[in-house]
């Protein structure tokens, strides 16, 4: 971080040709360049390997980029006061997010209406209530068979499960050794769409189950 003040100058002299990445300014811009071409979230490890940097360095550069994109008016306390400009002060139109275990650039939500006019892909229809409920049961009970989801929802879920799989939100995760039933789990695409790093970040289910502490065990005992 103490090198931040020098970034500006380093960037300029580097513009003539590739500079060794040992210089933080260059490394940051190179990281930014890589973020421009990835089409799925990239982990810090992948980025570090590709850029020939340590995971720690990549982690702090990513945090720095994220802060730059989000904008700030006062200089960060660890920035050299002599820095002529710092990096940006108003939020950019895009943001860098760490979700589903990886980093990726997104347009900022504020501009959804405008961006939506240009982007056709990824604009999926909203899920029906039945699909959401099925997705919720799978997310919290995974890996889980259709029969068990169906028992919890009280209806047959075959066609809803098919739709969720086609949408890429759930996938097969093998078969139950006892019953031979296909088990389903959520995908990393589901995490991406939820904007979370793992299913552990889903809201807790238990507060919604008042006084039902024994129920899960009860159902488990029933072999569902």
């Amino acid at each position: 971080m103490q090198d931040a003040a020098g970034d500006g100058r380093a960037g300029e002299t580097a513009s003539g040709g590739p500079d060794p990445l040992s210089h933080p300014g260059t490394a940051k811009a190179a990281l930014e360049a890589v973020l421009m071409v990835i089409d799925e979230p990239a982990t810090e490890e992948e980025l570090a390997a590709g850029l020939d940097l340590t995971v720690e360095t990549v982690g702090s550069l990513l945090a720095e980029l994220q802060r730059e994109y989000n904008g700030y008016t006062v200089k960060a306390p660890d920035m050299d006061q002599a820095s002529p400009a710092g990096f940006g002060s108003s939020p950019r139109g895009f943001e860098l997010r760490n979700i589903a275990g990886g980093w990726r650039i997104y347009s900022r939500a504020d501009y959804a209406d405008i961006v939506g006019k240009y982007v056709l892909e990824g604009q999926t229809a909203r899920l029906t209530q039945a699909a959401l409920e099925t997705l919720a049961v799978i997310a919290y009970r995974q890996p889980v068979s259709r029969a068990r989801v169906s028992a919890i929802r009280g209806v047959n879920v075959d066609s809803v499960v098919r739709t969720l799989a086609q949408r890429g939100l759930i996938e097969d995760s093998g078969t139950d050794p006892e019953s031979g039933a296909i088990l389903y789990r959520t995908t990393s695409y589901f995490l991406e769409r939820m904007g979370i790093g793992s299913v552990a970040e889903l809201p807790q289910l238990s507060p919604h189950l008042p006084g039902l502490d024994g129920i899960a065990e009860f159902y488990d005992a029933e072999g569902l």
Binding site: M36, A109, A136, I152, D176, R193, H208, L212
Partner: protein, 270 residues
């Protein structure tokens, strides 16, 4: 949500299943799940299923049967309430209590999932406001990709296409759920059994008619079947004193009878 509206307009799309409907009814009466007035809710549940049946072109047998299972359980519970209060005397009573607890446990569990499903929906909607950068690889990078190794003959490729295009047979539902879900008990089927039995021997007590029922659900189905047969004037009942054995008489005479005659009626009703 639709539940809060007065009149509780019924459209199939409003409910994602029997639990949803049941929760809707409970909410409408501002009752706590744990102290639901079974009789009220049961009657309304049955009424709404009937209405849905009248409205619904998209109502599949599959969906209908799920509602029916819950309806049967509710009826069962309602019937139990009509018995003298409080005493748990035999296995049937215990089974009823278990059925009730199980129904409410499932209902509460469903309610929790319904609620988090709402949260998931909100999050998905919020997150859909952000669009990921997902652009095609710049041409000079794409050109650097290693030359594709392609070993497939057109015939092999066609075989692959054939397999991929083969419609996937719907995989069978794999786990027996009879202990929870109830088997697929058809009222029509039970009517057939009851009808034939009564044609052979009449009168029979209700106790005798259900003596070989393998589950509570079958008992309920046979009870419903008898009600239908009564409406069809195929049977009559007599009971000497309240709670005495119910005797069922076959009154349709010797005319050729089969459950097929009732089938339309049954299917519309349940």
């Amino acid at each position: 949500m639709a539940e809060s509206k007065p009149g509780f307009e019924v459209r199939l799309a409003n409910f994602t299943g029997p639990f949803d409907l049941l929760l809707g009814l409970i909410a409408k009466h501002q009752m706590d799940i744990t102290e639901v007035a079974i009789a009220t809710v049961t009657d309304e549940f049955i009424k709404y299923i009937r209405k849905l049946q009248e409205l619904g072109g998209e109502w599949t047998l599959d969906e209908a049967s799920e509602f029916l299972v819950i309806a049967a359980t509710l009826l069962d519970l309602k019937a139990a309430r009509l018995l003298p209060a409080g005493e748990v005397e035999n296995d049937e009573d215990i089974a009823l209590l278990e059925a009730r607890d199980l129904l409410f446990a499932r209902l509460l569990q469903y309610k929790a999932f319904k609620h988090v499903a709402g949260l998931l929906g909100e999050t998905l909607h919020q997150e859909a406001q952000r669009f990921p950068r997902q652009v095609a690889l710049e041409e000079h990078f794409a050109a650097m990709l290693p030359e594709l190794v392609w070993k497939h003959t057109p015939e092999q490729f066609a075989a692959l296409a054939g397999a991929a295009l083969q419609p996937k047979a719907p995989r069978p539902t794999e786990v027996g759920l009879n202990h929870l879900h109830g088997g697929n008990v058809s009222v029509k089927e039970q009517a057939e059994i009851v009808g034939l039995r009564l044609q052979r021997e009449s009168p029979l007590t209700f106790r005798a008619i259900i003596s070989d029922a393998e589950s509570t659900l079958v008992v309920v189905a046979r009870f419903l079947a008898l009600l239908e047969l009564f409406r069809e004037k195929a049977v009559s009942f007599d009971q000497l004193t309240p709670l005495a054995d119910l005797a069922v008489h076959w009154t349709a005479g010797r005319r050729v009878w089969s459950a097929e005659n009732l089938s339309d009626e049954f299917e519309e009703q349940l």
